[in-house]
């Protein structure tokens, strides 16, 4: 449709003025901020969706699941991911010294000279230790678009080309004006409102907040401890992160959080500057009552996630959002035989790691470059 900028009061000129690009960037930032806050509240530990999360919240979000199929029709299941590893092998042999009456003085030690586990005893043990599943919440029914009443109460005024100042009721215009701007920042800007997979906090520095949603893909590796203890440890916990805040930099300082104009139909009827709120509630009314419902109603504008063995992107409407892989020891080493408490022990366990099944999480918004501006 069209970009129609909200009107705001310009104190310098004492007149109504359309929001500048930086004003709109700020409004789009808070739309993403509240989008992220809503998503954040849908998680429980280790990136699972909270069973009591509101059904209309968390659109497009990736979740971990224990099921081999989608939880229900609201989800897209993304298949299995195997965490594999090889198992160390151990041998033991009692130091059962034979009587000295044996004709050979070293006869008693014949059974002490046993070897170490064969290479095959380690190399052939590659097996799936655990299978992990993931799904995305991208088929749920969207909430209703904002009603006229919602627009009147929480929306903004625009200058109409036909010569009127009026409340913006056109959802497509709001999408073009604010949501596509938010999408651009999600794809290549400050990324607030998007997910990322990483073993460490992806924070770029002060003011950048990535919320830790827990382990999304767990990669374990085999371990060995003398004499016969074999097990595993977590080689890497590939965590899911959600960016929930970023420093506003010049946007914040240059526009001083300029608010928009709204029609007030009660009390002193007329045009009024909206109370924009402060801190975490800044612009929350317009974000949660107008922008986010419109966002959810347009499938082509919702940031969604998929998983691929390739990091090739289809176009500028896609962005890589982290990677994970499965690590295991591919070659082995030996130790022993070592005598301990009258028993000889030897073992074969991991040496050099290899990584396999590298996968990428890819965010996509629509299927062409019209999903952002």
């Amino acid at each position: 449709m069209a970009i129609r900028r909200p009107l705001r009061w310009d104190t310098a000129t004492g007149a109504l003025k359309e929001m500048s690009d930086s004003d709109l960037a700020l409004l789009a930032y808070y739309a993403r901020y509240h989008w992220a806050q809503e998503h954040l509240a849908t998680y429980t530990a280790n990136a699972y969706r909270d069973g009591s999360a509101t059904a209309t919240n968390g659109f497009g979000a990736p979740y971990r699941t224990n099921s081999t199929s989608a939880t229900d029709a609201n989800y897209t299941h993304h298949g299995a991911y195997n965490d594999t590893r090889k198992t160390p092998s151990t041998l033991s042999n009692a130091d059962n010294d034979e009587p000295q009456s044996q004709p050979n003085a070293f006869a008693g030690d014949d059974d002490d000279s046993f070897g170490v586990p064969s290479e095959a005893s380690f190399n052939d043990t590659l097996a799936t230790a655990q299978t992990l599943y993931k799904e995305t919440y991208d088929n749920a029914t969207a909430p209703s678009n904002p009603s006229t009443s919602d627009h009147n109460s929480h929306g903004y005024m625009i200058w109409d080309s036909s010569g009127y100042v009026k409340v913006e009721y056109e959802v497509a215009n709001i999408a073009d004006t604010v949501i596509k701007l938010a999408n651009a920042a999600m794809l290549s800007g400050d990324k607030v409102g998007t997910y990322y997979i990483s073993t460490s906090d992806p924070s770029e520095g002060t003011g950048h907040t990535w919320s830790d949603l827990g382990t999304f893909i767990e990669d374990t590796i085999s371990t060995y401890s003398f004499p016969t203890t074999t097990g595993s440890s977590i080689a890497q916990a590939h965590k899911l992160w959600l960016k929930t805040d970023a420093p506003l930099d010049s946007v914040e300082s240059s526009v001083a959080l300029t608010s928009y104009m709204q029609w007030s139909s009660s009390g002193d009827i007329g045009l009024k500057q909206v109370d924009k709120g402060s801190g975490g509630s800044t612009f929350s009314n317009i974000a949660t009552n107008i922008i986010i419902p419109i966002w959810k109603n347009n499938s082509a504008l919702i940031p969604k996630y998929k998983f691929s063995a390739s990091n090739t992107l289809a176009g500028s409407w896609e962005a890589l959002k982290g990677t994970y892989s499965d690590t295991y020891y591919d070659t082995s080493q030996t130790t022993g035989p070592t005598l301990d408490s009258s028993t000889y022990y030897s073992a074969r366990y991991g040496l050099a790691t290899t990584t396999v099944n590298t996968e990428y999480m890819i965010m996509y918004i629509g299927s062409d470059a019209t999903s952002y501006r």
């Binding site: 030690d109 000279s113 990483s198 959002k321 591919d330 080493q333 590298t358």
Partner: protein, 248 residues
């Protein structure tokens, strides 16, 4: 979260200690102040904000190294509070990370600015780490070449007897002036059980004894009750081996 970090920290320390892998302090500086920095009560040591010291980096895939389609690296680091172990994709500039949508996190920024941001350096660290792992196998092979179940048993017996006597195992011997000035006779006649055992081990390490197939004489050395008996049996074995060689 704190428990998780502490657990990871322990795992890193334990594993590195186990294989004897040390960080290259000529690259990363001294580590002896880390404890002061991680102590929240110590106000004299304040770790720089948004700084992570990269301790080492190695290829996640030690086999393909930098030649994989999207090489990943394992990074061990210290953030002023904890030692951490992470996996990140390898790129050599912030622009390269940014171009593929990877946030240039504090960890990545620190890696880029570290001496480990170099393919050869990562390969060196990988090889250094791997060689420590390999040493276990090398130790085993070396052990196999000299392994004698009998000697091992003697050692275990000796160790057990030391423990049962309440002596401190591994206590370093101190050579006193008195010992240095002792005559050979005094040394031979005053030798303790421990001295006798050590002497036997030394004898068993001699090439001629190791290569000897004369089990009777080897057994005689093992069963000797004094230094003199050991010497006598040793000489007997030398004579026998010499004779065998001459006959051949």
């Amino acid at each position: 979260m704190a428990e998780e970090q502490a657990s990871q920290e322990d795992a890193i320390d334990n594993f590195n200690n186990k294989i004897g892998f040390d960080y290259d302090t000529s690259l990363i500086g001294a580590l002896n102040k880390d404890g002061f920095y991680s102590d929240p009560e110590n106000k004299d040591f304040i770790w720089p904000e948004n700084y992570v010291r990269i301790n080492t980096a190695r290829w996640a895939d030690m086999i393909t190294g930098p030649n994989g389609s999207d090489p990943q690296i394992f990074v061990e680091s210290f953030d002023g509070t904890h030692n951490k172990f992470d996996q990140i994709p390898f790129r050599s500039t912030a622009e390269e990370y940014d171009s593929v949508g990877i946030p240039v996190s504090i960890l990545i920024k620190s890696f880029l600015e570290s001496p480990f941001n170099d393919i050869e350096m990562i390969t060196r660290e990988t090889n250094r780490f791997r060689s420590k792992l390999d040493e276990e196998e090398r130790r085993y092979k070396a052990f196999c070449e000299t392994f004698s179940g009998e000697e091992q048993r003697l050692y275990e017996e000796w160790k057990a007897s030391r423990s049962s006597e309440g002596e401190e195992f591994g206590k370093m011997d101190t050579v006193t002036e008195e010992q240095v000035s002792k005559t050979v006779w005094q040394i031979l006649s005053e030798a303790s059980t421990e001295d006798l055992f050590k002497f036997k081990l030394d004898i068993f390490e001699q090439e001629i004894v190791q290569n000897s197939e004369n089990r009777d004489l080897r057994s005689k050395i093992r069963k000797a009750k004094s230094i003199c008996e050991v010497c006598a049996a040793y000489q007997e074995l030398i004579d026998a081996e010499t004779e065998t060689k001459e006959t051949e």
